[in-house]
Symmetry: C2
Subunit: 194 residues, 2 copies
């Protein structure tokens, strides 16, 4: 059986709520534990793998982690994994100004969820990417950079979409969908060999 | 006696040349070793301390490391330690466009040199900060972001200044001056106790 409970390494209550909202229909409950895991500099994948491996080592058992990136195409994917620092420094209302000097306002929102069985196991990554356009902030400012990310052709920022709708199409929704498929596939493989 | 030879953890030959040019008058020779030390995300000081500690642990003896940051005041100090990624993504000629949406073009160039005696010893940091203005790139493009940093009231970017002049006023010159003073002070303390 795929695990019905996952341990997410975070102290962010909004993140836990999002994970549970998306994973509840798959019958998965997400608990959380706040652990101080230093993040390295590097690509989204390098950062996620290092974080997941370290978290599993500290916890001594299965964990999931996530990393969120906002990638501006005009900047070769930056701020990318450093978006949190830029959001803290500028706030949602000034974030779009980073692209004022560039005509290409296109961007990708990227969620990378890592699963690691425990110390010595290789982390496995599940990634969701969606395309959008960087715009002046609209919607609930508590949603941070999602106020500046107009999704696809909808004319709505992620922060203007109802949560239920957003989770169906979002970077995190896609990443967690892949995680669920993989967990279910684990079940199939177990069934195949019995 | 202060060490007359320091081991700088880097594979960058330009950096070694700069260190030697600045430290030669103090009678210090800099050797180097290229070691892959992952850098964490965080403040300049957190990154430098973690890198220095890890390098000393790997080498098993005294090391120096350095971290370079370019801090835009309009962005609360960012890109800061992430400047290398932004420079790689944008190139020197587009770097100033990051500030196109901001009226405050002021910036600080920051060099942080860390010294660690060896495993289990606390790293000590020596920092040089200079004020300037971000401008469209001028000077030798091989100098990277220094082409965009107009120093103080000189009207010259760091990349337009002769190396000898630059080293007298630069962020790295100041940081290494502090290192030399500290090393000499170690000598004084040894002398005092004999």
């Amino acid at each position: 059986m795929a695990p019905k409970e996952l341990l997410l390494i975070t102290g962010n209550s909004n993140k836990i709520a999002d994970f549970n909202a998306i994973l509840a229909p798959a019958g998965i409950i997400v608990r959380n534990q706040a652990v101080d895991v230093p993040e390295i500099q590097g690509s989204i994948e390098e950062i996620s793998i290092a974080k997941c491996r370290k978290a599993a080592e500290i916890i001594g058992g299965p964990v999931i982690i996530d990393d969120t990136a906002l990638c501006f195409n005009a900047m070769g994917g930056l701020p990318g994994p450093y978006i949190k620092a830029f959001l803290e420094a500028l706030g949602p209302k000034s974030l779009h100004l980073l692209l004022a000097g560039f005509s290409d306002k296109s961007a990708q929102a990227v969620a990378t969820v890592g699963y690691c069985q425990g110390q010595g196991h290789e982390p496995i990554l599940f990634q969701g990417r969606i395309d959008g356009t960087i715009v002046p902030a609209r919607g609930n400012m508590q949603y941070g950079w999602q106020t500046c990310f107009e999704y696809g052709e909808t004319g709505q920022t992620l922060a203007e979409m109802p949560d239920v709708e957003k989770h169906k199409i979002s970077h995190l929704g896609i990443a967690l969908g892949k995680l669920v498929s993989w967990l279910n596939h684990l079940d199939d493989r177990v069934t195949d060999t019995t």
